[in-house]
């Protein structure tokens, strides 16, 4: 692309002699002028809007524009050419100096280049340029934007350009143009438009225009508020799905088996680190398939966490059944050892887990609401895991055994259920699900030795709130806590929201010690 521009510059530079005089002056201003003059020159180049200006601006942005005495050079590697005339300069002058670009100029340059890209033949480039300009455009770009608007065929870009043009008219146009612009801006989804209209309202004297502007402003605010609401709903569901994933494993080990597993968070961490290992294996041995490492990481994290869990059950937890407080302390000890173990192996710092390409980015629902793919996928993943557990518990022989042992261990044993093995398998299942949660969490958050600690309190809250031994309760509790947290967060900030939720749970347990969905009958007093 850039090479093409250079070639074009050569071609144009040799024939467009009429423009040369004007051009040379602009180039001189750009190279030797004061900061304000440089900005003016940039604006002039944008107004010209041809490929040569684009090349010049690009060169300046890339730090390839030099001064040598009175001349201005575009230097690329060993080649140099005069910026004004396009004549090749050889050899490279020794006394050349790079033209420095300060922050203000750099911002102007970015917008200018974006404006020039509006006429690019690629849709993606045009779209990106339009979005960049939607953040703020200079009045000098108006002719260019209008030109691009006339040519544009893509409706999404057209809408954006319309908005940009209207915003520019608002600043510089006459009364009619401003009125039209104010009306047009009412269709905007962008929060920048809101600030634009607000500042317009402050400056504008004309009563009619003010009324119109206020009307537009209200419309935009209404739309933005919907966007915010939609955003809160999404983040709530997202947080709910994460809590659900973290708590589902615990719903089995604690809810069904009654084991207070304080190392649950560390099993999540084990899953996350397994994902990290699988990612490294793919990067090292199969870089081509890197985007699909998750397909391997999901079962791997399940298996590793499940194996760790089964080993713990066999070695420690088995001896503590029926003594919940001792189990709590022992599993806390396990969690400390696991944390330190991970620190010894992987180091105390967080490790980097990369999203595959198809999980980065997001779907834009409204202008101010972008749903990240990673979180969207995790919502579906949580639903799938939930469905899987439900099927496993209700439709399979293992599920039948688990439920049987939960309800009446002695009777299950009498009819030939191998209760000890069922315990191990059920604990492995719960741990494996924690591993799956870790795999999911590695895609959206930091992976470090303390990962599990952040989730242990939350997961217990979910299970206790939902009611022990109830999958449905766990789902409601996770989503409920997700919503409560995010709604309060929007209102009072994250920390106070979290405190409020914890206090709420404390009170809730006082009122309903068995959770939202209490088991009835004998199981209650265990």
């Amino acid at each position: 692309m850039r090479i093409l521009l250079i070639v074009l510059t050569f071609a144009l530079g040799s024939c467009a002699s009429a423009a040369l005089a004007q051009d040379a002056k602009t180039v001189e201003k750009l190279a030797f002028g004061e900061s304000a003059e440089k900005v003016e020159a940039v604006a002039a180049l944008v107004a010209a809007g041809d490929e040569k200006s684009a090349a010049l601006l690009q060169a300046l942005a890339d730090g390839e524009l030099y001064t040598a005495g009175k001349r201005v050079l575009i230097v690329r590697g060993e080649d140099a050419m005069d910026a004004a005339t396009g004549v090749k300069v050889a050899p490279l002058p020794e006394d050349r100096e790079e033209i420095t670009v300060n922050n203000r100029l750099r911002r102007e340059l970015g917008r200018a280049l974006a404006a020039l890209k509006l006429v690019s033949p690629e849709r993606g480039a045009r779209f990106a340029a339009a979005r960049e300009l939607a953040g703020g455009a200079e009045p000098a770009m108006l002719p260019l934007v209008k030109k691009a608007l006339a040519k544009e065929t893509d409706s999404a870009i057209k809408r954006l350009l319309d908005q940009i043009a209207a915003a520019l008219e608002l600043k510089a146009g006459d009364r009619e143009a401003r009125l039209a612009a104010v009306r047009k801006l009412a269709a905007s989804h962008n929060s920048n438009t809101k600030t634009l209209l607000l500042s317009f309202l402050e400056a504008e004297k004309d009563e009619d225009l003010r009324v119109e502007a206020q009307k537009s402003l209200r419309e935009i605010e209404g739309r933005l508020a919907w966007g915010e609401r939609a955003g809160i709903v999404f983040t709530s569901i997202s947080l709910g799905s994460i809590l659900l994933l973290a708590a589902l494993g615990l719903a089995i080990t604690y809810g069904l088996m009654g084991v207070i597993n304080m190392a649950h968070g560390e099993l999540i961490m084990v899953g996350a680190y397994t994902t990290y290992m699988v990612q490294n294996l793919f990067r090292g041995h199969a870089p081509g398939a890197f985007d699909w490492y998750l397909a391997c990481a999901v079962p791997a994290s399940f298996m590793v966490a499940a194996l760790v869990g089964m080993a713990l059950e066999r070695s420690v937890i088995r001896w503590l059944y029926g003594r919940p407080l001792e189990t709590l302390l022992a599993t806390w000890g396990i969690s400390l050892a696991l944390i330190q173990g991970v620190r010894t192996i992987f180091g105390a710092a967080n490790v980097q887990v990369e999203n595959p390409v198809w999980m980065s980015g997001g779907i834009e629902v409204l202008a101010n609401v972008v749903l990240p793919w990673s979180r969207t996928i995790i919502i579906f993943f949580a639903a799938a895991v939930l469905g899987g557990i439900w099927l496993l518990l209700t439709k399979t022989r293992l599920g039948l055994f688990v439920r049987g042992v939960t309800q009446n261990r002695a009777m299950a044993s009498c009819v030939g259920v191998p209760t000890a093995r069922v315990d191990t398998l059920a604990f492995g299942l719960g741990s494996g699900i924690a591993g799956l949660a870790g795999c999911a969490l590695s895609q959206i958050g930091n992976v470090g030795p303390d990962l599990g600690q952040a989730y242990i309190v939350d997961s217990f809250m979910v299970v206790v709130l939902g009611g022990v031994g109830q999958l449905a309760g766990t789902v409601y509790a996770a989503l409920g806590l997700g919503f409560a947290n995010k709604l309060l967060e929007a209102w009072q900030g994250a920390v106070l929201a979290k405190i409020a939720v914890l206090v709420f749970i404390i009170f809730f347990i006082q009122r309903r010690p068995q959770g939202m969905f209490a088991l009835k009958g004998r199981a209650v007093e265990v």
Binding site: L325, L336, A337, Q340, Q453, Q510
Partner: protein
């Protein structure tokens, strides 16, 4: 009363207690203040602070043992009461910095965190020693009373109780981490200078605090002994072993549990105040759930249901901690983790229980 008091321990027990008191009140001060620093018998300031700190922990362990070992209530939030006591007394110590005439920190770090010339309302009257000393007792006590009243009345028990106490201390930690709460945010309180207008860093002040901690520890031990050997203590043990039966016998278990729970919180608060004065720093991480669980392991290691066990456990675990975190920082967590696992699996009665079994069989 006198006879009831002397009946707390047998002759051997009183002799041992007297020996410990002698070490705390005579040997330590003599070796620290009386012996020149060059002498091999000199006890350095480091040791005085360390032992003083461990004595504060031992008070907490006693408090924990009263409710866990004797009433069967495992609290995972005792770090909160400890920290609240520490914060209450820390407020006074922070105000005392201002009394230090030429102090560089005249504008206390609290004022540094929030540029208000007026202190927030929580700091009302915090320049008075007696007001703060009262807060040390009242704040943890009141919180524990209210929390316990609702929890015990709704018959929240066992693991549920443990988990909501954990939620409580976690919520409080988040609250104290906020700068807007008015207690110094992340940094908490530190850089103390004076206590009762006496410079806090002098050997005499240090030794006084040490002796006060020792006296409180011995007092707590005697109080605990008095409670567990009384009729009240027997009811507590009965509640621990079969609460429903005790209720069916006509006892209102709520009041028994509530009393010992509140007392335990108050003891923790006092320990926290002594701790802050000696260690010289308090911050919200004292309230982290991990700290509270560690308290439980002190008691478990020493032997729950025995008061001496709580003290022994606090001493051993914290002694090992201060040694290991300095000598082999990376193995401390392995050690602590293994301690949790091994003690629960193999030493349900703790070290004291093990010693008793040995003396009985051998």
């Amino acid at each position: 009363m006198g006879s009831a008091f002397s009946r707390l321990y047998g002759p051997k027990g009183w002799a041992a207690l007297g020996a410990v008191a002698c070490v705390i009140f005579v040997v330590f001060p003599l070796l620290n203040l009386g012996v020149p620093a060059a002498s091999p018998f000199h006890v350095s300031a480091y040791w005085v602070t360390l032992v003083g700190k461990i004595m504060c922990y031992a008070i907490v362990a006693l408090a924990m043992d009263l409710i866990w070992g004797y009433a069967g209530i495992l609290s995972l939030g005792h770090g909160l009461f400890f920290a609240l006591g520490g914060y209450a007394f820390g407020m006074y110590l922070m105000r005392q910095i201002g009394a230090d005439g030429q102090s560089r920190a005249t504008t206390t770090s609290i004022a540094h965190h929030q540029n208000e010339s007026e202190f927030p309302w929580q700091w009302w009257s915090s320049d008075s020693f007696w007001w703060c000393a009262m807060l040390v007792v009242v704040v943890p006590g009141l919180l524990a009373y209210v929390f316990g009243y609702f929890a015990f009345r709704s018959r929240v028990r066992g693991v549920y109780f443990s988990i909501i106490t954990q939620a409580l201390t976690y919520a409080a930690m988040l609250l104290f981490f906020r700068n807007a709460t008015g207690f110094g945010g992340n940094n908490g309180f530190t850089d103390f200078r004076r206590i009762l207008d006496i410079p806090i860093a002098t050997p005499q002040a240090r030794m006084t605090l040490f002796a006060v901690s020792g006296a409180v520890l011995i007092g707590t031990l005697l109080l605990g002994r008095f409670i567990v050997t009384s009729k009240f203590g027997r009811v507590l043990a009965a509640i621990r072993d079969a609460e429903q039966r005790v209720m069916f016998c006509g006892y209102d278990t709520v009041h028994y549990k509530l009393f010992v729970w509140t007392l335990s919180a108050v003891l923790c608060g006092i320990a926290g105040a002594l701790y802050v004065a000696q260690v010289g720093i308090i911050n919200p991480s004292e309230m982290s759930p991990a700290n509270s669980i560690e308290i439980a392991i002190w008691v478990a290691v020493g032997g729950r249901g025995t008061l001496t066990g709580a003290i022994v456990g606090a001493g051993i675990v914290n002694g090992a901690k201060s040694y290991l975190t300095q000598a082999f920082p990376e193995i401390w967590l392995y050690f602590l983790g293994l301690l949790f696992i091994l003690v629960t699996l193999f030493l349900p009665q703790g070290i004291v229980g093990l010693a008793r079994r040995w003396t009985r069989t051998g």
